[in-house]
């Protein structure tokens, strides 16, 4: 539970999809002109990331990973399908996005009007595939993967909404002509990334097991070091 909170906070602020990894930059820049559209796409990203990351986790752990197929038969223990991960991940993302779009269109036209136009955009949003591609490198459990997906989505949402708010205010600024639009936006994003870097100094509220162990070892080492010294001091 504590570990989950750590991952949640980390994926929103410290490992922010935009400011730490630049994932989903294209749509980030394209839709951040107006606050409303930015919020719409942000919500869609939270939703899609929150569901496709766990889906891809399942696919990775029960299909692609080396020895993942042992749940069918012990004979498959040596099979490693990791080569196929790109195709499987992108197929899951694209299929899920398409399905959601059709379902939303059918059951909730009002939601479709506000969110639906963004869904096709999301299939090719790097942050969704990026979230899936981080899974093999980080050994998450299922609950952790869900938290990571949601947290990353919220981080993306925060980033896009805040940039859109700044860009709306930019309309009143007198920017040099060639710098207008993309150029000044990049400089703003850079400064925002600067701000987000300060989150890197956060001490996470709960330490994970490794950190705890490391700290315990440190303290025990220190106490071991102290004892002989103090004995020596006394002997002197």
């Amino acid at each position: 539970m504590e570990n989950l909170l750590n991952i949640f906070i980390k994926s929103i602020f410290i490992d922010n999809m935009i400011f730490a990894y630049f994932l989903g930059m294209c749509s980030y820049l394209a839709v951040s002109k107006k606050y409303k559209t930015a919020a719409g796409l942000g919500m869609a990203v939270i939703f899609v990331l929150g569901i496709t990351v766990p889906l891809n986790w399942l696919a990775y752990n029960f299909l692609l990973k080396e020895g993942a197929l042992t749940w069918i038969s012990e004979d498959f223990a040596s099979i490693d399908l990791e080569v196929l991960k790109f195709i499987v991940f992108i197929a899951i993302v694209a299929a899920f996005v398409q399905l959601t779009e059709m379902a939303v269109e059918k059951f909730s036209p009002s939601l479709y009007n506000s969110l639906g136009i963004f869904l096709p955009l999301i299939a090719v949003n790097c942050s969704i595939l990026g979230g899936a591609l981080f899974l093999p490198t980080r050994d998450y459990e299922f609950a952790e993967a869900v938290t990571f997906g949601l947290g990353s989505g919220i981080g993306w949402f925060l980033a896009v909404v805040s940039l859109a708010a700044i860009r709306e205010k930019m309309a009143y600024a007198d920017v040099p002509k060639p710098l207008r639009g993309l150029g000044i936006t990049f400089i703003i994003v850079g400064l925002m990334a600067f701000g987000f870097m300060s989150f890197g100094g956060f001490e996470l509220p709960f330490k994970n097991k490794e950190q705890q162990q490391a700290e315990q070892e440190k303290t025990s080492q220190v106490s071991e070091n102290v004892d002989p010294l103090s004995v020596a001091n006394y002997s002197e």
């Binding site: 730490a20 820049l29 790109f86 490198t137 150029g183 850079g190 870097m197």
Partner: protein
Amino acid sequence: MSTETLEKEVKEVKKPSEPLLSKKRKALLTNPLDEDNPITIQVLGICSALAVTVALKPTLVMAIAVTAVLVLANVVISALRNTIPNRIRIIVQLVVVASLVAIVDQVLKAYSYDVWKELSVFIGLIITNCIVMGRLEAFALGNKPWDAMLDGLGNSFGYAWIILAIAFFRELTGSGKLFGVKVLPEEYIGNGVMMSPVGACVLLGVLIWIIRSRNGYVED
């Protein structure tokens, strides 16, 4: 009589075919370098442009990987363009690109493992690199394979020189090195900001400023 009509037909077929590097086709190749640059003007493929440009070596590898994927995907999609149903074209494109990326990924893993490790997820992210999808949608779906290949080459060179320029400045000012070799005097202390995302963003912003003030492109 019959041979005459045949010859006529042949002539008629030959007429529209233009030289392999006509003016229009040269433009396909050179436009993306400057006035139609994928990064600075079309705003495509930003993610990797910022993320991998910490040093020149991974950037060069990335540029080559993108070139390979973009050119091949353009040719394949353009060859298939009349058989792809419109509704599922995005998924078809994604599958083609994903297969190509999987090949590139395996080749890199086999022949330059260090760089492959450094690039980590960003090789996979070529799949959703907007340059690839953008060019497939905008060009390959409506043009012949040869034109599509030139377009792919042009755009990936346009992409390559921008990311190499960014990487050059980032590596030089960030650690005083070029391709991992120290070029600035030993006393130079690396500028950490240039190695961080901040440096990449601001540098790209300034680069866009310079390029746009040169070619007069103004965004409203």
